[in-house]
C-alpha cells in the first residue's frame, strides 16, 4: 500500500479541485490500491486499522482463490456439458462433502483463529495512565473534552502521534458510531451507557472520521477530524484548550464579541473566560481554528460562517440552530470575532 495521506491538517475536500472528467479512470486507479487522500481503511495510519487491513488482504486472497475454483467448475460445465451426449447419473457425495464442507471448514477454522487474534488485539485496553479523550455524540456533532483540560472543542480530536489514547464514548441523545477508517474500526455510542475504544496513530496527519450509525436527519453531516501531531505540538494545543479564549484585540473584534454576548448566541454557546456559558451547542472558544463548520458540512471560512449564522438550515437542514436575527450591519464584526478565536 502506498501511503500518501496528506500531512496538512486540511482534508482533501477543502482544496477545491476541478471535477474530474474521467471519474471511471480515476476510480480504476484507486482500485489499484492508490487511494490517495480518501479516508480509506486500506490506507491505514493507525495500529488498529493496520491490523484489520492485514486481515482484509488475507480474506481477499482466499476469496479470490475459492472464487476461481467455483468459476472453473462452472466454466467446465458450460463448455463441456452443454448439449452433452450423455447424462451421467452418479451421486458424487465425496466430492460434495470435501469441496463443499471439508475444505471450507479447514479454511474457516484457520481464518477464525486469525480473526480471534485480531479481535483480542483491538480489544486490548490502552493502559491505566494513557491520555483520555471524552467524546460525546450529539445530533449532529461531536463534543470533545480531555481529562486535565477545562475547555471543550467540537468535531476535532487532537492526539499525540505514536501514543495509545483512550477514547471514552457517550451519547447525549440517540445512538451514534465512532469511526476513523484509517485509525480504528467502529465503536457504537450507546444511550445510557459508556463505551471505550482507543486511537494510536503511527504517523502525523489528519484523518477523517464520521458517524456510522444512522442517527436521524443529518446523519450525513456528522464528520470529525483526528489530528495526530508530535507530542510538543499536542501539549501546546491542549494548553490552549485549558486557557481562556483569546481576547478581542481590534475594535471590530470587540464589537463582534458584544454582539455575541448580548445576542442569542450566548444562549447556546460557550466562549471560555467571557462569562458566556451556553451548553446546548458546541463550545466556540477555538472555533476559528477548526477544520469545518457543522461537523463537516461546509469549510470553515468567513463566507460559510456568515451563511451558517444567518440561516444554518439551508446548509444543514434539521440541525438544532435556528436562523439568527443578526443585524446585517453587525454580522461582519461577529464573523471577525469568531474567526479570531483560535
Amino acid at each position: 500500500m502506498k501511503t500518501t495521506a496528506e500531512t496538512t491538517s486540511r482534508p482533501a475536500w477543502r482544496q477545491r479541485r476541478p471535477r474530474s472528467v474521467l471519474p471511471l479512470l480515476y476510480g480504476l486507479l484507486l482500485l489499484a490500491g492508490c487511494s490517495g487522500g480518501s479516508p480509506s481503511a486500506l490506507n491505514p495510519a493507525g495500529t488498529g486499522a493496520a491490523r484489520v487491513s492485514g486481515l482484509w488482504w488475507l480474506l481477499f486472497w482466499i476469496s479470490v482463490a475459492v472464487f476461481a475454483e467455483v468459476m472453473a467448475l462452472l466454466a467446465w460445465a458450460l463448455v463441456f456439458r452443454r448439449g452433452a451426449a450423455r447424462v451421467r447419473h452418479g451421486q458424487p457425495l465425496r466430492f460434495v462433502t470435501i469441496a463443499g464442507a471439508g475444505l471450507p471448514f479447514i479454511i474457516l477454522v484457520a481464518v477464525y483463529g486469525v480473526g480471534l487474534r485480531d479481535l483480542a488485539a483491538l480489544g486490548a485496553s490502552p493502559g491505566r495512565d494513557a491520555l483520555t479523550v471524552e467524546v460525546t455524540g450529539h445530533k449532529w456533532w461531536w463534543e470533545v473534552r480531555y481529562a486535565g483540560a477545562s475547555g471543550a472543542t467540537a468535531n476535532e480530536i487532537h492526539i499525540p502521534v505514536g501514543e495509545r489514547v483512550r477514547v471514552r464514548l457517550r451519547t447525549d441523545d440517540v445512538l451514534h458510531s465512532f469511526w476513523v477508517p484509517q485509525l480504528m474500526p467502529k465503536t457504537d455510542l450507546i444511550a445510557g451507557e459508556t463505551r471505550e475504544t482507543w486511537l494510536e496513530a503511527r504517523r502525523d496527519g489528519s484523518y477523517r472520521g464520521q458517524c456510522a450509525e444512522y442517527c436521524g436527519t443529518q446523519h450525513a453531516h456528522m464528520a470529525f477530524l483526528v489530528v495526530a501531531e508530535p507530542r510538543a505540538d499536542f501539549d501546546a494545543w491542549l494548553a490552549r484548550l485549558d486557557a481562556p479564549a483569546r481576547a478581542p484585540r481590534t475594535e471590530a473584534e470587540r464589537r463582534g464579541q458584544q454582539t455575541f454576548a448580548q445576542g442569542t448566541c450566548a444562549a447556546c454557546h460557550t466562549v471560555r473566560g467571557t462569562g458566556v456559558q451556553g451548553r446546548v451547542g458546541p463550545d466556540l472558544s477555538n472555533v476559528g481554528s477548526r477544520w469545518s463548520i457543522g461537523a463537516g458540512a461546509v469549510p470553515n471560512d468567513a463566507g460559510h460562517l456568515g451563511g451558517w449564522i444567518a440561516n444554518s438550515q439551508t446548509v444543514k437542514p434539521g440541525n438544532a440552530m435556528p436562523p439568527q436575527p443578526v443585524d446585517a450591519a453587525r454580522l461582519p464584526d461577529l464573523i471577525t470575532y469568531l474567526r479570531s478565536l483560535e
Binding site: 482484509w56 452433452a84 447424462v87 440517540v174 445512538l175 467502529k186 451507557e193 458517524c211 456510522a212 464528520a223
Partner: protein, 642 residues
Amino acid sequence: MSTTTSTAPAVGRDDLARLAEHWAEPRSLRSWFTTVDHKRIGRRYLVTAAFFFVLAGLSALVMRTQLARPESGVVSPQEYNQLFTMHGTAMIFLFATPMLFGFGNFLVPLMIGSRDMAFPRLNAFGYWVFLFAGLFMWASLPFGAAPNNGWFAYAPLNQVQHNPGLHMDVYALGLLFLGISTTSGAINFIVTALKLRAPGMSLNRVPLFVWAIVATAFMVIFALPALNADNAMLFFDRRFGTHFFDPSGGGNVLLWQHLFWIFGHPDVYIIVLPALGIVSAVLPAFTRRGVVAYSLIVLSIVAIAIISFGVWVHHMFATGLPQLSYSFFSAASTVITIPSGIQIFAWLATMLLGRLVSRVPLLFVIGFIVTFVLGGFTGAMFALTAFDQQVTDSYFVVAHFHYVLIGGAVFPMLAGIYYWLPKITGRMYHEGLGRWAFWLAFTGMHVTFFPMHLTGLFGMPRRVYTYRSEPGWDGWNLVSTVGSYLLALGLLLVLVGVVHAVRRGRPAPADPWEGDSLEWSTASPPEPYNFPVIPRVRSLHPTWDARTAESTTTGATADRVLSDGRRTLFTSELDARTERAVAMPEPSYKPLVLAGALLVFFTAMLLAAYPIAVVAVLVVAATIAAWLWPPRRPDEELGVAS
C-alpha cells in the same frame, strides 16, 4: 428417463364433469373477492409483491440519482431518509417473503399432489392482510409520514421524543399487521406439507423446494414473535408512555437490537432458503437429471434453519458487548456458511454430470451462483468481529447484502418466473427478450453493487443522503448509479416479457421443460382441482417415473379421484399413507371481511381513533366466531378444513 405424461386421464367424463362442477369458481366479481383457490391466491401474491418491488425499486433509483454526484439536491434529507427506510422495509417485508410465499402458494399443493392448501380460507385471509398491510405502509409516503428510521429502526431514535409524527407508528403497526399474514401463511405451509401429500410421497420423496418452504415456515413461527414483541413495545413507548427502550426511564436501547436481530438474522434465511429451493427445483429440467446429494441438501436446509437462530449478535459487533460473546457468535456465523457451501457444490456437481439445456431459467441460476458465492465470501468476512467492526454500517455492507439478496433471492425468483410462467399463465415467454433481460440485470447488478465494496472500504458510511467530494467516492458512486439504471432496465424487460407472454405468448404444453416434479403432470394452467386423479408417488422424480404416471391413468382408483364433492386426500406425516378423504371449504367473504376489519383496527390505532378501534375489534371477534361456527352437520373432517 423422462416420460412425457399426457394429461388424458383414465377417469370417466362424469368424474371430470363432477370435479369441474364442485371446484369451479365462476369468473365473477363475487368470486374475485371470495376465492380460496391456492393458484389464484398464489398469483395474487406474486403480482402484489412485484408491485411493491417496483415501488421499492423506484425509491432506490431516486436514491441512486441523488448520490450520483456529491452534494446534489434531488431530494431533501427528510425525503431521502423515508425513501431508504421504505426501500429496505418494503424489499424485505413486502416483496421478498410474500413473493416466495406466492411461489409456495401456487406450487406446494401442485408439487405434493394435493388439490389445495390445508386451510384455503386462511390462505385467502393471509393474502388480503398482506395486501392491506402493504398499502397501509406505502400510503404513508405521499403524506410525508413514511417510516424514516432505517428498516431496523434502532432505539432510541425510534422514540417519540427523537422522532415525532406518525412515521414510526406506521412502521410498528404496519409490521404487526403484516405479521398476521406471514404467521398464518407459515402455519398453512407446514400443515399442508405434512398432511396433504399424495400417497406414497414419503419424506424422502418430498421435492427440495417444499423442504425449503417448510423449513422457512418453521423459522417464521419461531422468529416472528421477537419482531412482534419489539414492535408492540415500540408502539407502547411511543403512544402510551412506557419506557421499554428509553434509558432515562430505566429501559434498554440494546433490547431493541437483540429482539430485532433474533428475528432479523433468521429472516435473511427466511428469504434465501426458499430461493435456494427454487434453484434446486429448476436445475433438474435444465441438467436432465436429479440434483446431486438430495439428502445432504435436506440436511443443509435444516441445519441453516437451526443455526441461523444462533448468529444474531454479529449484527451488533460494534456495540461493545463482551469479547467472549463475540467470539461465540463469530464462530456460529462462520459455521453457517458450510451448509450453503454444500448446496453450491451439489448444484455444481449436478451441472458437471448432467446435460445443460441453455435456456433463460438456467442463465438466471448461473447468475445466481456467481453472485451468491461472492456475497457468501463477504458474509464469511463479516463473521470475523475485527473485520466487521471496520466495514459494518459502511457501503461495504450494502454491497454484501445486495449480493446475497439479489444474487441469492431475486435471481432465483427470476429463474422461477421464467420456469413456471408456462404453468402459471399457460403461455410461453419470449426467449430472446428473456436473454436480454438476464444480461442487463446481471451486468447492472454487478456494476451497481461491486463498486460499493470499494466506497465502503474507502470510508463511506451507509444511509447518508449526500456526501462531500472525497477521493475514491465520487467516481464509484457515479458508476453505481449508472449500474442501477441498467439493472432497472433489465427488470423492466422481465416485466415486458411477462406481459408479452400473457398477451401474445404461444400456448404452453402441460410439460414444456420435461420437468421432474408433479406440477408438470397437470394442465397448463392447472384445472381448479389440480389433479383429475391424485397420483400415487413412486419416486423422488414422479413425472419422470412411469409407475407414478400409470397411477393416474390405467391404475387410477376411485379413492384418488374423489369426484363426489370438493375433496382431497389426507395422508400420514412421515410415510404419506392414505388416511382419509377430507372436504375442502367453499369460497367465502369471511377472509376479506376479517382482513378489512383488521385494516380498520390498525388505521384507527394509528390515528388514535380508539372508539373506532374498539368497534373494529368487535367486528373481528364476530367474524372469527362466524368463521369458526361448527357446521350444522358435524362430519369427520371437522377441524381440518377451515
